[in-house]
Amino acid sequence: MGSATGEAAAHGAKPANRRGQGLTWVPAALAAAIFAALWPAIPTVAAGEVLRWGVAWVPSLGVNFSVLLDGLSLTFALLISGIGALVMLFAAKYMEGKYHSGRFALYLFLFMLAMLGLVLADNLLTLFVFWELTSITSYLLIGFGHADAKSRRSALQALLVTGMGGLALLAGFILIYTVVGSFDLAVVLASGDVLRDSPLYLPILILVLAGAFTKSAQFPLHFWLPNAMAAPTPVSAYLHSATMVKAGVFLLARLHPALAGTDVWLWSLTLFGGVTAVFASVMALRQTDLKQALAYTTLMALGTLVLFLADGTSAYAITGFMAFLVTHSLYKAALFLVVGTVDHGTGTRDARILGGLARAMPVTAFAAALAGLSMAGLPPFVGFIAKEVLYKGAGELPLGTIVTGFALASNALMFAVAGIVCLRPFWGRPRGETPVPPHEGPWQLLAGPIILSVLGLALGLMPWLKQQALVSPGVDAVLGRGGEARDLKLWAGVNLALVLSLATFALGLMLYAFHVVLRDGLNRLGARLPSLDAGWDRFLDGLKALAAWQTRILQSGRLVNYMAVTFATLLAGLGAALIATAPGPIMLEMPYLLVKEWGIALLVLAGTGVVVSTNSRITALAGLGVVGVGVALIFVTYGAPDVAITQLLVEVLVVVLVALAILKLPSLEPETGRRRWFDAALALGIGGAVTVIMLMVLDVPLDRRLSEYFEVTSWPEAFGRNIVNVILVDFRALDTFGEIAVVAVAGIAAFALLKTKIAPAKEDAR
């Protein structure tokens, strides 16, 4: 799963670009300012108010650039800006002197803005735009080490997977619009019953879940997230633990009032979330790279979050969701930053080498211990409270046993991984030589982990703070009704949740004790299982092969093939239209016709037959003339003398022109071959389809309103007695003008073509 040696080396090897170096602290300061600006909103939102502000953006599409600040979005916005400030401070130091560090700071800041826009959006389309912006900025960040092929591949993979999800999401939003008639979140969230009863509910749900699950890396579309760890550590800490991957979870929480509460929602979220959580915890045990291990525990957390959103009504489950969301962001960002500091201080992230770092890196070790204890879910940390609430919530759910099982397994595994990541590298004896002698990081690196992990302890000791500011308002927003959030308590008495917690610790301890054996065993097993990552490559290769194949087939470079494809498509379209309308039997009646009418029909028929069958140029030309004259006779017979005159005139011109040209062209050769049989079948098919459609048209009563309008207005308004002429030069004069222009352009172009024949191609080219 990639080498664990420091990416610091990979990025530092290039010549340093000092431009923008002195300004890398600016994003951190701006993020802190945003955080400070959001802070005063806490009491208002906690009191149950929903703040809205907006301006029209694309009024014609009903898209407003509008901001919605309720419990859910405020919690997210605080996490994004707060953790963002710390991560950017970290990044400024971490990337100092490295290649394009200024650009890196800019990308990170842009990402933060996109993410803020996403969570604050009050309109589905605005949300979608920011959703895509997070995908794009994350592409830039993952592929930041662009000289490395692995980085590029990971970045592209993340972009394609989340981009496909984004397309599905857009389709889902449009379907929602067709049902409720608005993109405004307020309207959408209030129309839950309409949406759930709509026949489009299932497609909407599938499309929205596709978007959310790709973004939040749910199994089996999870593989891009561990690969995305190719990015510099601050990116992993920020995008791939605290913020972007939570966008999918955020979306599910946001749309919870509108879409939750059905069996499909319940089962799909339970199964995807549960499987992701357990699968990811097992995968986390396998890793030797600390960052990869953390990446998989992030997957586990995302799975758990999805799992607890599955139910439509349980306040306990949603309280657990919000509590765990905040908790996870705090300790996971801290741990990623710790790993970054370790990488910075030792030059490696390999769990097999690292050990006893506490002596050289005491502050890092302190932060790691606090964050690790929170992750393991030990009291008195926030992790413990979150876990307790989760267990209680699980007991309330209709699928309680399954959810409890998933939660127990993943929590125990998480406990073990916390030990591997936070304990082993810092305590005990060194297990091997590190590339750089271990040394403590500077304050900019340590600030983030310390603040975040101490916060994890403080909020654990004072759970009411977190409750009032972050959790309860969020629960209200997710459930769509107020006052139902359950209390977060450090000590809730002896109950089932506590027993489950103790079982988790026991199981976790065992897993930790045997994790080396387990790791090797799992790796042997894992080597035999098909890899989804490799499957993705095969999928892409297949897609490219398909594209190349269909290009070869459809774009062969032969005009006849292009024509055949075009006509075959036409026939398919006509056939589909005919089948769709399912015409009844059409009555063909033998008409009583005058002799001249029969004569004309036979004339056209004979002319056509001659053109098709002859190999003589002059005979074919004569046939064309016969057809043209026949058509003119039809016009004159059925009351269209003007048309007939024009037809005759043009027919004469055509015959003269073609005759002039054709004498200089080579004679026609007879055509044979199997290919022509196919052509004949295609031609007969299209001809037959056109006849049937024409007969169907004739079966429908004619709407003569427009013609009657021309008939009664021709003289009184336009003062013309020849209605056809009046239509051409008066009612539709601009059309006629366009027609004249077309003929003029064709004439000029033809003239230009013929004029240049004097200079042969050879002279042109040389």
């Binding site: 269209a640 003007d642 024009t646 052509d679 004949a680 031609a683 003289w715 020849n722 239509i727």
Partner: protein, 141 residues
């Protein structure tokens, strides 16, 4: 008569499709002429046929007599005939020019823009067909 014309249109369309699928661009031109005629007949027949009563308003009258031919399709067909002629004239010039430049009327032999794989021209060009007309022209000679 409308139904007879519907059949006739089908025959014309089938004949023109067959001609347009030919490798010989002269036959393609014949197909173009026929399909123009077929399209005009479709418009004309769609407006229904009225025997021998052109849409004219008699002197002193404000409107034509009751059973008069439909004027609207006639106007449309008139436009279509002229446009069809413009198209044909241009196509004819193109065919003629192509023949004088390339010496063939077989569209399979006209491979300036998309040379056959493995041909001299294809080999010389960059893999993804960044062919300039000059390069392709040289290659074809």
């Amino acid at each position: 008569m409308e139904q007879i014309l519907a059949l006739l249109i089908g025959v014309l369309v089938a004949a023109s499709v067959w001609l347009m699928l030919s490798r010989n661009v002269v036959r393609f031109l014949f197909g173009l002429v026929l399909i123009s005629n077929a399209a005009n007949l479709v418009i004309f027949t769609g407006g229904r046929l009225t025997l021998g009563a052109p849409p004219l308003i008699d002197e002193g009258a404000d409107a034509p007599p009751a059973l008069v031919a439909n004027a609207l399709p006639q106007a449309l067909v008139l436009t279509a005939i002229v446009i069809g002629f413009g198209l044909l004239a241009f196509a004819l010039a193109l065919v003629f020019r192509a023949y004088t430049a390339l010496g063939t009327v077989d569209s399979d032999e006209m491979r300036l823009a998309e040379p056959r794989e493995g041909e001299e021209g294809a080999a010389k060009l960059p893999a993804r067909g960044g062919a300039t007309p000059e390069m392709a022209r040289e290659a074809a000679e």
